[in-house]
Symmetry: C2
């Protein structure tokens, strides 16, 4: 029998707990022999596939279509937008050779760190008239970044999986509306389905995406009080349409440059938030909406085909059209071993059937999120649906509460520094708006970074910058980050 051991208590050492869950729930393996590259194992990929599907469906329902662009970008494309290349150059891997003699390629090819410069080359060919707009295309792909910081499965590595949606409009106003739509997409998927709460910030000018007019990004708070960036939307304005020459003829037959946005939910990274926020001391906890296996049925029996196992199959047949379910009828493991195993894997609901249940025409539900046990009569099987809804709601509620508890306010520098050090989370402050002051704060707080102003909510500063004590120009939020 495969051995099972307990895991580190999450509250005591979140970092170690996270590593152990990634290993023991068989989510990722860092033992691949290329630095910074992590293997994603089936249990993680099945869940991420569901997350991708929900995001893709949401994007398609809002008028996006999928495409596939190349992974390699010609050096000349890559260097077209000056700020963009400056921002991304340090992170690019270059393909320089090929073939049996490893001949040098005529021009080096960049492995895409993001796809603006691959896609917009084609957009300049495809966009001709107002009839071609809006153009809303996304691709599901991986990107590569020559990341220097320590590798953490799903959180940080040199190859990660995301969706990037690149939209083109006639007017600035439409582009700005797209930012709002992207926030809605984030709410409908990442909050409602993945149960991850967030605030959508407008990042400070000094921290925007290379080549953007403005960057808007969702942040969540992990159990150690540090924030993790979820999807971001970049208002690109006409920066790229001018450097890539993306023009259209409007209804008045005038030629104009387009307005653009891009949106990038990094699914492998968002999965890190799912692990971190919902998991507990028994392992992973998956929200029903994204669990690849929603119900595990464990017959309490040593046989492969007694009355108890038959009952398990009866129940399975009745629920399989509504839920993804499976019977664990392996005889080489005890029921207790199986409980631990599927709890570690985060399956939302367990059904147990023992001799007494058989006699009483009932079965037992065990909720993964609360451990609650619920006896259900065989003729009331539809109750499962209600329980499943409650699990999803409870995970959202718990995560929301944790998030709210960790939104704080500080009136002065010491207060802010103390909060960041002792409690973590996101702290609301007033700030002068200057980059140098932000950098000074980051150093003095050992990593406190200004996340920006809250998007869609006007908050006016009333006093002085908490750090430099000059007149505050913005109400912003600061946090330590991953």
């Amino acid at each position: 029998m495969a051995e099972q051991e307990g895991i580190t208590i999450k509250k005591e050492d979140f970092s170690e707990w996270y590593t152990e869950v990634c290993n023991k729930a068989e989510l990722a393996d860092i033992r691949y022999n290329v630095k910074g590259f992590v293997v994603f194992r089936p249990w993680a990929v099945k869940t991420m596939n569901n997350m991708f599907k929900l995001l893709e469906d949401e994007l398609e329902s809002k008028g996006h279509s999928p495409a596939l662009f190349q992974a390699v970008i010609h050096e000349s494309n890559f260097k077209k937008e000056a700020e963009h290349v400056e921002g991304f150059l340090p992170e690019v891997f270059w393909v320089t050779k090929a073939g049996s003699g490893a001949e040098k390629l005529e021009e080096p090819l960049a492995l895409r760190p993001t796809s603006e410069t691959a896609m917009y080359k084609m957009y300049s060919i495809w966009v001709r008239s107002w009839r071609d707009l809006p153009l809303k295309i996304y691709q599901k792909c991986q990107v590569w970044r020559y990341e220097g910081k320590a590798t953490r499965p799903f959180i940080r590595g040199r190859e990660f999986y995301w969706i990037e949606a690149h939209d083109v409009f006639e007017t600035e106003k439409e582009a700005m509306n797209q930012v709002k739509e992207d926030m809605e997409t984030t709410e409908n998927t990442i909050h409602k389905k993945f149960a991850i709460p967030f605030i959508f910030f407008q990042r400070p000018q000094h921290d925007k995406f290379a080549g953007a007019v403005n960057t808007y990004a969702a942040d969540t708070i992990l159990p150690d009080g540090k924030v993790l960036q979820l999807p971001s939307t970049h208002l690109l304005g006409q920066n790229f349409s001018k450097s890539f020459n993306i023009k259209f003829t409007d209804k008045e037959k005038k030629e104009r440059y387009t307005w653009q946005t891009c949106y990038g939910p990094c699914v492998s990274r968002i999965f890190a938030a799912v692990i971190a926020l919902h998991g507990d001391d028994k392992g992973l906890v998956l929200p029903p909406e994204i669990a690849s296996l929603q119900i595990i049925i464990v017959p309490i029996s040593k046989s492969k085909d007694d009355e108890i196992v038959k009952k398990a199959h009866d129940i399975y047949k009745k629920i399989k059209h509504k839920f993804s379910a499976m019977i664990d009828d392996r005889t080489e493991y005890t029921p207790g071993w199986k409980y631990n195993y599927w709890e570690m894997k985060g399956v939302p609901l367990r059904i147990e059937i023992g001799p007494r249940d058989l006699r009483n025409k009932q079965f037992m539900l065990v909720r993964r999120d609360t451990g609650e046990k619920i006896v259900v009569k065989e003729n009331r099987i539809e109750e499962i649906e209600d329980v499943m809804k409650k699990i999803q709601e409870n995970l959202i509620k718990k995560a929301d509460e944790y998030f709210k508890e960790n939104l704080r306010e500080a009136k002065n520098f010491d207060d802010m520094k103390n909060t960041l050090e002792k409690k973590g989370g996101i702290v609301k402050i007033e700030w002068c708006g200057k980059k140098a002051c932000a950098e000074d704060m980051k150093e003095k707080t050992s990593g406190g970074v200004i996340r920006g102003t809250m998007f869609g909510k006007e908050e006016k500063p009333k006093g002085m910058c908490v750090n430099c004590k000059t007149k505050a120009t913005q109400v912003v939020y600061i946090a330590k980050q991953y």
Copy 2:
């Protein structure tokens, strides 16, 4: 109004017709400025996504799980299996530099041309005991090959999209059974759903996958008489388990090397067969089972909201749960323009509703595959389902008939050469089994390649090799290939 022109007659110039369909149905764009790299546009990607889904569901139903391995392979892994590296080295792109100063990486990284050497590194860690077997993992990904021949969208390029399934077993027999299962997977998806007929061959020894014991591969015949390789399965035996040290402890506690297979349906390439085999002089024709849009509803009206358009919405509401459907109610285009547009896109079924249909409480179905028009009474809407089934069946039948017609037999060399030149297709011959003779035939027939023996059917030669006239040892099939 966007202009529409006719396309080249498929029978007269298949190659030009193929290029035009790829352009006019907006499937691919070759104008990206990196040689050999083609952009896949939304209409192609939506269809390929359905093809991927069917293959993934079939693989999962047969016990495979999805994983994601890295795109880059350490040089030392890549070089572990001697034959494998020799076969693939000429096709590898190398990542050698990274970062802002484009510093040289400590060791060059291969962009995967196929993933054996990435995955088996991990398999050697994961496989410990018989309990871990069989291990059946697939990944959906792209691979890169430094291809020298001319680029053709979907048929040949330097980056293509596939699924690769890598399976590990205790015994040779189980591995051999996997080959049969893979053939079944190919039949259930590529034949029954994509409507592409094929023969599963065992390739000659001199033409097997680099590092395999045997290669089995499905071939179909394109309209120009040349064959296109569809999925292949490689029986790897213990070649890779020995070079990567993949061992397990069996039930008798003895340590043994595993037996392995891999299976690779290249979806972007199989999509080329879908375009080529089903398309006609009006453009693409998509089998209902893989069409992302199965029904286009065209109200014959100049208004956005008259009775006809309302009726179109009524019908849409009634069918949308069964089929993927859409109403084309754009007022800037005529019905005739729309018919051409959606025929070019290959939508299997069109519903037309005009004033007369409104009066007679009916609507018109137009089949894309045959052009047949069918009047359906409003209260008999369920007839659509039957028509859709017939379209799928008809496409399979037509493709099967074409395939059968192009299977021929030749008793001597001249007969074979003539058949390959004038008719194309696959020609059955008797052969001595020698590589030199096969190469000689290839030269003398300007490209006739021996595809191998028919898998699962024993055919015994009775005479002499058609080429060298020594005793024939195999009944094989020869064809010109893509």
